[in-house]
């Protein structure tokens, strides 16, 4: 299994063919009309893995991007109701939806999650990220997920000019930069304390002591950042998985990377 070289014990409850699906997975399949057996196996195992590693309860929004259309991609695995309050995505502008994921056009495509740091998260407890399926040059990647009131930021800019990733969680202009020369794979950040953040780039973690400031009430956008109510920094990176949740421990980061990589591998779209 990928990732076990980290020396950690990822807990996995293996689903047995012929047994019924996890209840939460089944609810998602019903809402999103997912019928493909490979996709159902992958999503079901994802749910089982999140639960056995105590990550499911830390998540507020999980976007598996299966089914290949806007109608199937909009659903939140954690709460598959067709409501803003369930953090169901609303796609605006130019997107291309395929079996590999949801690809924004980088000029006007974004999706509203309706999940805001102030209304739905807690001070010093936040995590969010994406599994990128498009290789984009430095400076063109922009911000595939994030929000800001232009004073406090919750953003990831995965590949700025000079090949560095910018990761800011409930903080102001004090940026947390990490060397990064690729927009592919699972990239996420978490804040788990007043002066404690972690950036995870394809399984490699970097910690930082940037202090938090405050929370604002603009919801996260996917495909761009929500800049005080207007989409900006439109990104051309395909989303194969995206999430928003509460703060994660260092061990959580390792587990999450491994099980998401396994998820994408089952679907045949790992990078």
């Amino acid at each position: 299994m990928p990732g076990l070289g980290l020396g950690l014990s990822l807990k996995r409850s293996r689903w047995v063919f012929g047994s019924s699906y996890d209840t939460d997975a089944a609810a998602f399949f019903s809402a999103a009309s997912i019928t493909n057996s490979t996709q159902k196996t992958a999503v079901n195992q994802l749910v089982l893995d999140l639960k056995s590693n105590s990550l499911w309860s830390k998540m507020l929004a999980l976007y598996p991007f299966v089914g290949g259309t806007a109608t199937t991609h909009k659903w939140n695995l954690k709460d598959p109701r067709d409501l803003d309050a369930a953090f169901r995505l609303t796609f605006s502008g130019g997107w291309t939806h395929t079996s590999t994921g949801a690809l924004p056009n980088g000029t006007n495509g974004y999706a509203n999650t309706f999940l805001s740091p102030l209304s739905n998260l807690s001070t010093n407890s936040e995590s969010f990220g994406f599994y990128g399926g498009t290789s984009v040059a430095a400076g063109s990647a922009k911000q595939p997920i994030g929000c800001t009131d232009t004073s406090t930021y919750d953003i990831i800019a995965p590949r700025e000019v000079g090949d560095s990733a910018l990761c800011i969680l409930q903080a102001n202009s004090a940026a947390f930069t990490v060397s990064n020369a690729s927009t592919l794979g699972f990239i996420f950040g978490t804040r788990n304390g007043a002066a404690s953040s972690i950036a995870s780039i394809r399984g490699t973690k970097t910690t930082n002591g940037v202090s938090s400031t405050s929370r604002h009430n603009y919801p996260f956008f996917v495909g761009a950042r929500n800049q005080a109510g207007t989409a900006a920094q439109y990104s051309p990176i395909e989303h194969r998985f995206s999430f928003i949740g509460n703060g994660l421990t260092s061990g959580d980061c390792d587990s999450l990377y491994t099980l998401i990589q396994a998820y994408e591998t089952t679907l045949g779209r790992n990078v």
Binding site: T71, T90, F91, S92, N105
Partner: protein
């Protein structure tokens, strides 16, 4: 640079928030030259009977807005 379909501000106001395909909504935006536009991904499936002013638009090159800051 990508291509975009230029429209007027009045047309942008008519399209904003309207559905052009299942679970997909117009997002008329201004590019870096101040031109209002929609993307090919919106223009192609859009109902040209419902939105007749979309017929015959010649796409032009997108001008990227200048970023004030990366964060």
């Amino acid at each position: 640079m990508p291509l975009i379909y230029p429209i007027t501000e009045s047309q942008a106001n008519q399209l904003k928030g309207q559905e052009f395909a299942p679970d997909s909504f117009f997002n008329p935006t201004q590019d870096g030259s101040g031109k209002w536009f929609i993307s090919p991904e919106e223009w192609e499936p859009a109902d040209k009977v419902q939105w007749p002013f979309l017929v015959g638009i010649v796409p032009v090159e997108y001008v990227e807005p200048v970023s004030i800051d990366p964060q």
